[in-house]
């Protein structure tokens, strides 16, 4: 099981501070939800964690080792943030096989693992001869999520996994995440705008605002109504 530690992590875009986290520890095997409005710094945090952007200062560590300039975490980390993770000119099946091969999973094993996700992927994302760039946003999302899950990662990082998905798929992904976390002890970091889904499955909710952690709650001890109240407050008055 994998732990994460973030210390004094700061990222600026020009004059603006996109993320500034003094300290955050993610326990091994936990399922942590990152919530916040647009621009709160969720994706920036994930990009820093996956060493896709360079911080101004601070440290993100996975399994006690800094991720910056290191590869050690890649072998056990599954991640999907956005379409930049997909190889548009491959078909989904080719993409899965390519990703699996990079993780040393045999073709036969890949096929077997993919069978488990056939229902979630559906016909278009699972078996068509279309390339990924020809898929709808929802199907692209499914492909990205399955590619992250099928390697059976010890750490899973998903940014807005419920986006673009139909209601059935949203329920399926919620169940899958819960099941994998429970059975395999996978450490998970998931961000979403859908507060209900996260509060249902997460054992910890971190609320970001303008790059800073403003609430860190652990249900059922903490009242998640606080988070809901926060968003209601942020919404302000309804538009006329």
């Amino acid at each position: 099981m994998v732990s994460i530690r973030i210390t004094g992590l700061k990222k600026n875009y020009g004059e603006q501070t996109a993320l500034h986290i003094d300290s955050l520890q993610i326990a091994p095997g936990s399922l942590t939800g990152i919530v916040g409005n647009n621009g709160a710094g969720k994706t920036t945090m994930f990009r820093l964690l996956l060493d896709l952007i360079r911080p101004e200062q601070g440290l993100a560590e996975i399994e006690g080792k800094a991720v910056k300039g290191s590869d050690h975490w890649k072998t056990f980390t599954g991640s999907y943030l956005d379409e930049g993770f997909l190889i548009g000119f491959l078909s989904p099946v080719e993409y899965f096989h390519f990703a699996a091969r990079l993780h040393g999973i045999s073709e036969k094993e890949t096929e077997e693992r993919l069978e488990a996700y056939a229902g979630f992927l559906g016909d278009e994302a699972g078996g068509s001869s279309k390339t990924i760039r020809q898929l709808s946003s929802g199907n692209k999302q499914k492909v990205g999520i399955v590619a992250a899950l099928m390697i059976r990662p010890a750490l899973l990082v998903l940014d807005e996994p419920f986006n673009y998905l139909d209601p059935s798929s949203q329920i399926m992904i919620r169940q899958m995440l819960q099941q994998i976390n429970h059975n395999k002890g996978t450490t998970m970091l998931v961000s979403s705008h859908n507060l209900n889904y996260l509060t249902d499955i997460c054992d910890r909710i971190v609320l970001l605002e303008k790059g800073k952690i403003v609430k860190d709650l652990t249900p059922p001890g903490d009242d998640l109504g606080e988070v809901e109240a926060y968003f209601r407050l942020q919404a302000g008055k309804p538009l006329p």
Binding site: L52, I53, G84, L86, E94, H103, T131
Partner: protein, 497 residues
């Protein structure tokens, strides 16, 4: 409506993320284009003198007319490969309540605003001023200019018609047939008669023969009408481009490559990239059409002309890789984050790419070798030396400098005239590629060997050194790439469309 469409075209051009990049280099390119036009203009002014040297028994005008069809055949060839149909952004308009015929007309009208419809005027205008306007009559001058306009217009109409057809295969076949229709009689079978016909055609124009004007004019009108019809049909293809399943069947070359050990999966990925990426594929499938030209150059090259021919021969001997590696690290724009989060060694990726394109160049050379031995056996050592040179220092230079290329565009998504991907680094690299042969000439000149063998030896030697040292320089390139990792990823991210 047309004005709105033109404005939108401008906005697409000026709001592209790379618009403001490398403006200095773009200014240099524009300046060089201007110099080129001035050079053409000066050449046109001195053309009468040059022609009279080669054709002393003819007048300068008749000599030029005898070459007119050759000039426009070369123009057709250039346009066939380089001139594009200005089709971008049209897809976004198709679902809107805009009449399709109007869109088709807009594309056709806009296509006339092309540098290919101008550059020959820069050459021929001063020539006809000196040979017709002053000594003969202004009327003869204007008729000659109209002749140039009609012949250029005919080429334009042919190319646009070909490019407005759906599908690549008919385009390739028809284009090939049209080019061969010039090349076979003109260069191979009846060059004398071809030149006589060309001269008669030019004279018919200057003598205001009605048919000389009517026939090309009718042909242009017919081709434009066909293009308009074709475009309306092609719109459906463009609209359904993303919905059409691509050929992603298992097996084939990609399957074969993926079964190879070590770099197999990366080679399979590279193969899929060049066969499925729109821009890469169109260049890849058109490349074989250039091979007859390569064979002709190798056939025609002798001791005297080899120095002038070498850069051109080198370009073709590098095969498709010489083009592809100019954008060495741009093709991954769409999946850079995937690569950065997987345990893939950058060295392995760069090596796989290098071996792939080097092998392609060598495979091409081996395929052409029997033809070269048949056409001009004396040139074989030079050709082998040049393949080594391209797959050695030239590929190394493209990969190494490609790391710092300041644009990471999606080579698929490009905007008209934005010279996308032409960063300062790439611009200089391409110039360096062609200049890299100069030191080889100098060393060859100093060697106590016949010049041709001297060049073969120096190109071969330099090439061999880089091929044998490829593990070393690929590692250095990878290190350089990794050192700039965040900068690279940022560039990729900025280039998302």
């Amino acid at each position: 409506m047309y004005l709105t469409l033109i404005r939108h075209a401008w906005l697409q051009f000026s709001r592209a993320h790379y618009f403001g990049r490398s403006l200095g280099v773009k200014a240099i390119i524009a300046f060089m284009a201007l110099i080129f036009l001035i050079y053409l203009y000066a050449l046109g002014g001195s053309l009468p003198w040059l022609l009279l040297r080669f054709f002393p028994q003819k007048t300068a005008v008749d000599a030029l007319f005898s070459l007119l069809l050759y000039i426009y055949a070369a123009d057709l060839l250039t346009r066939y490969f380089a001139q594009k149909l200005p089709r971008q952004m049209i897809r976004a308009y198709l679902p809107l309540p805009l009449p399709r015929p109007k869109l088709a007309r807009f594309i056709l009208l806009r296509s006339w605003l092309s540098i290919y419809n101008l550059y020959l005027f820069a050459l021929l205008l001063p020539f006809f001023v000196r040979t017709l306007y002053i000594p003969v009559s202004p009327q003869a001058f204007w008729l000659a200019m109209l002749c140039c306009f009609l012949l250029g217009g005919l080429n334009h109409a042919i190319v646009i018609w070909l490019k407005s057809w759906p599908g690549v295969a008919p385009r390739l076949i028809l284009g090939g047939v049209l080019i061969l229709a010039h090349v076979v009689p003109g260069a191979l079978l009846f060059p004398q008669e071809y030149m006589q016909f060309s001269e008669a055609l030019g004279q018919a124009f200057v003598n205001a023969h009605p048919l000389a004007f009517a026939l090309p004019l009718l042909a242009i009108a017919a081709l434009q009408w066909l293009s308009h019809k074709g475009l309306k049909r092609t719109f459906y293809d463009w609209a359904a481009e993303d919905a059409r399943p691509a050929r992603t069947a298992k097996g084939g070359m990609a399957g074969l490559l993926s079964r190879l050990p070590h770099y197999g999966h990366l080679w399979a990925l590279e193969w899929k990239l060049i066969t499925r990426n729109k821009r890469a594929r169109s260049n890849f499938v058109q490349f074989p059409l250039m091979l007859p030209l390569l064979l002709y150059l190798l056939y025609a090259a002798d001791r005297e002309s080899v120095v002038g021919f070498t850069p051109l021969i080198m370009m073709f001997l590098g095969s498709y890789g010489l083009y592809h590696l100019q954008f060495a690290f741009s093709w991954e724009s769409g999946f850079a984050d995937f690569l950065a989060t997987r345990k893939i060694s950058t060295t392995a990726m760069i090596r796989a790419r290098y071996y792939f394109y080097a092998a392609m160049a060598w495979a091409q050379f081996l395929l052409l070798m029997p033809f070269i031995l048949w056409l001009n056996p004396g040139i074989i050592s030079l050709a082998a030396g040049l393949v080594l040179f391209v797959t050695g220092p030239v590929f190394a230079m493209l990969l190494h400098t490609g790391v710092a290329n300041s644009t990471r565009i999606d080579p698929n998504g490009r905007s008209f005239m934005n010279t996308e991907g032409v960063s300062g680094r790439l611009f200089i690299t391409v110039i360096l590629v062609f200049l890299s042969i100069v030191p080889v000439y100098v060393i060859a000149f100093l060697l106590p060997l016949p010049y041709l063998y001297g060049i073969s030896l120096t190109t071969g030697g330099a090439g061999m050194a880089f091929v044998l040292g490829s593990r070393r320089w690929t590692r250095a390139t990878a290190l350089r790439f990794d050192r700039n990792k965040y900068h690279q990823l940022n560039k990729y991210r900025q280039s998302q469309w």
